[in-house]
């Protein structure tokens, strides 16, 4: 069976060998997985889960173990929505947007809207690390409040634009920009404090 025939007939995708699925583009794998192709889905999972897990883990500010539950939730949400994937953005970006919603839901716990809980603790005083505690940039990001952390990870780490962040979080682009500047200031304070402590 040729690749094009395999993609055209999703019901036969389950028998595509791993070596074949590995060479398929994301969109072809998505088409095959929509038809119930398990091999295609597993290939998508193996290809994109490491990045998704890292992204979700950073947004949550938690360990990979906690983030794995959110990753599972993300894939369970993403699978029925695969039919809506139009290949206009990269599959990774599309998946991360679903992962972000799953992570926000995980953090929300009863709050009505993402924007309500994301920025409610942002004015709280930042707990600077203890003098003998070394904090790298990863730990500094994890120490940020959820709102600062989410926007900083999305913009400065993942490269989302303010318009994309605003769309994902249901806020104005100006709010995203303002929160990013505050997040950077807090992160800088965390890191500078450390530099002084290290000196």
């Amino acid at each position: 069976m040729t690749l094009s025939a395999a993609v055209a007939n999703p019901s036969r995708q389950t028998v595509i060998p791993r070596a074949t699925t590995a060479s398929l583009a994301d969109f072809a794998l998505v088409s095959a997985a929509v038809g119930g192709g398990e091999a295609a889905f597993r290939e998508l999972f193996r290809r994109h889960t490491p990045h998704l897990l890292q992204f979700v883990s950073r947004v949550l500010g938690k360990s990979a173990g906690d983030a794995e539950d959110v990753v599972q939730d993300t894939w369970v949400r993403a699978y029925p929505a695969l039919v809506t994937f139009r290949n206009e953005s990269s599959f990774s970006t599309w998946l991360c947007s679903i992962g972000l919603r799953a992570a926000l839901d995980s953090m929300r716990r009863g709050k009505r809207r993402a924007s309500e809980f994301l920025f409610e603790d942002d004015d709280a005083p930042v707990v600077l690390p203890h003098h003998d505690e070394r904090m790298d940039i990863e730990k500094a990001i994890a120490a940020l409040s959820p709102g600062y952390r989410t926007i900083l990870v999305m913009h400065d780490v993942e490269g989302f634009t303010h318009e994309e962040i605003a769309s994902q979080l249901g806020i104005a682009p100006g709010t995203s920009k303002a929160q990013l500047f505050k997040a950077r200031r807090v992160m800088r304070a965390l890191l500078t404090g450390l530099e002084k402590n290290d000196a």
Partner: protein, 124 residues
Amino acid sequence: MHNEDQELREHELAALAALPRELQPGDLLEERVVRALRSAGHLGDARRVKQPWMQVSLRIAAAAALFIGGVATGQYMMTRSDTNALDNAATIRAANELPTGSTMQHMKAVKSDEKVVAEREMWL
């Protein structure tokens, strides 16, 4: 000055760029996800991929069953209303054939008169 504070510095950019972009999941996560999708009926054996012609046939059969069911129900309802109408007519007819209250009173009066006549004949 404010903008300079807001922009990332070179060493911060470098630190952010050096952050790992991937984190390897545990060995069991893939199986957990596949199992969750299977139990939700999305993937593997639990998913029944129906052929288009089969779906069309099923839809036609369902529509035909609905139509036949509707016709049968309509006929049943009509038959039932006819039977009820016949029953009602029979009941009315039977009621007309039975003696009415005034007829009974009339018969009682006649019997009473006959009794009076018989008693008078006894005395005479």
